[in-house]
């Protein structure tokens, strides 16, 4: 058992922090207020190599192992306060790049991965529908084979990066009689007739990450746009979710570290009743609890990533990490606000946004309740 990063990983971590702190935090209050995606930041991250971290070099990526990827994303979360931008990057990596890498034909990989890695294209997936959220496989979008084409009909909701997307991996059922075994995945490019963005959605947090509903109306795609085989949609989705559940909260570790440091600094400088507020046990206890949650979160997330790096499928560990880290981040953001008092509640202190951004962590990539069902299910319940 070895819990240390290598010298190279430490150096990379420092580079990511320096890059993120210097390049990604300008005008964030305004961008959050206006629900504005940070296009320039997206391009800078791609140029730095973030979007391509786990993708092999032959497709333009960095070829990093999953632990190095987690290390870099944690550093990104520490240096970059635009949690929406980081969320958009995560969605792009885990729901578009990884499924293409794992299930795409060589031709599909060569066609799409270099563009996604370079940030020139934005990739998304479309699974959730108005009537199917946690019960994802009860989706109603249909696919029909007609000669050398598939025809897609249906609607999707809560689609991250929808307005930015150049390509979508759409999940649709080819054979509803087979239930989930009929679900297949199709690549649909922007501009394909019958594919449209039907409604922009507004959110409590992660407001710099765009979200919308999509509509597919007699949308025709060539047969070669099938991702994987017919009926392998559930496999593609679950594999994608496994990566996502392990990695998407790595940036939360960085954010929690940042909130801990900011709160400690404030508790040291801010004086009331003639002494720093950190000297009061009630405040010091909150700082200690923030640290305890951070340490436990790190161990859980690193373990899930390590198991994945060993070729395992850490279903249980990823679910445990997802539940714990997402809830820890919310509690830490609440504590940070409480320690900062009235200032913490003010937008200009940029702490209240952390709480709004953190709340969705217990919802996306499978709610806390679904993760607990997974864990209990592994105990035979």
């Amino acid at each position: 058992m070895n819990f240390s990063w290598t010298d190279e990983q430490h150096a990379f971590r420092r580079e990511v922090i320096k890059f993120a702190q210097g390049e990604l935090n300008d005008d964030l209050i305004e961008r959050d207020r206006n629900e504005q995606f940070f296009c320039e930041g997206w391009k800078k991250c791609a140029k730095f190599g973030i979007q391509g971290l786990p993708i092999p070099e032959e497709y333009g990526g960095g070829g990093a192992d999953i632990l190095t990827t987690v290390c870099a994303l944690e550093a990104l979360g520490y240096g970059c306060r635009d949690n929406g931008l980081i969320f958009s990057i995560n969605a792009h990596m885990w729901s578009a790049e990884i499924p293409l890498l794992s299930f795409g034909t060589e031709e599909q990989k060569k066609q799409y991965l270099p563009r996604l890695v370079s940030g020139e294209w934005v990739g998304i997936h479309a699974m959730t529908e108005p009537g199917s959220g946690s019960d994802a496989y009860s989706l109603k979008t249909r696919a029909e084979r007609k000669g050398d084409r598939y025809i897609l009909n249906g609607s999707k909701t809560f689609i991250t990066n929808a307005q930015l997307a150049d390509m979508v991996i759409v999940f649709a059922n080819l054979d509803p009689a087979k239930g989930p075994a009929g679900i297949s995945a199709f690549i649909v490019e922007k501009g394909t007739p019958g594919f449209s963005i039907s409604k922009k959605l507004h959110k409590m947090g992660l407001r710099t990450s765009p979200m919308a509903e999509l509509a597919f109306t007699d949308c025709e795609v060539p047969a070669q746009n099938l991702l994987g085989k017919e009926g392998s949609g559930t496999a593609i989705f679950t594999a994608s979710m496994e990566w996502e559940r392990i990695c998407i909260l790595a940036s939360h570790l960085g954010a929690m570290q940042r909130m801990l440091e900011t709160s400690t600094s404030y508790a040291t400088d801010r004086k009331q009743f003639g002494q720093p507020i950190g000297k009061f046990p009630a405040v010091a206890g909150k700082i200690a609890e923030m640290d305890i949650r951070l340490e436990a979160s790190r161990l859980l997330l690193y373990k899930a990533a390590w198991l994945k790096s060993q070729g395992k499928h850490p279903l249980r560990e990823a679910a445990i990490a997802k539940v714990f880290v997402s809830e820890a981040c919310i509690k830490t953001a609440q504590d940070a606000i409480q320690i900062h008092g009235g200032y913490g509640y003010m937008t200009e202190f940029q702490i209240e946004r952390e709480l709004r951004d953190a709340i969705s962590g217990t919802i996306y990539s499978g709610t806390t309740e679904v993760q607990k069902m997974i864990i209990a299910g592994l105990h035979g319940l």
Partner: protein, 88 residues
């Protein structure tokens, strides 16, 4: 002879796992060729439980791209998949 014993052992262990999964889903009987997904014995979560069981029981490694319906469609299909891996 050894290979035959091994094959029987693999199928028995898979049958036992599927039988328990079926019981939990209220399915009373599962034949070797019956579709486990269509009959509701194995759902999206169940596939990963099955993968974890196979990896642990038979010391095989199963890649993301192998977690597809054709490898886990039935008891007979799972057995073929595992034996192919063991004999590689």
């Amino acid at each position: 002879m050894t290979e035959q014993v091994e094959n029987v052992n693999v199928k028995d262990q898979i049958r036992e796992f599927v039988r328990e999964a079926a019981q939990r889903k209220g399915v009373s009987e599962v034949t070797d060729d019956q579709s486990l997904v269509e009959s509701g014995v194995i759902d999206s979560l169940g596939i990963f439980r099955l993968v974890a069981f196979l990896e642990e029981s038979f010391r095989v490694r199963i890649g993301d791209e192998e977690i597809v319906g054709e490898n886990f469609e039935s008891i007979a299909g799972i057995e073929r998949f595992v034996l192919n891996k063991l004999n590689r």
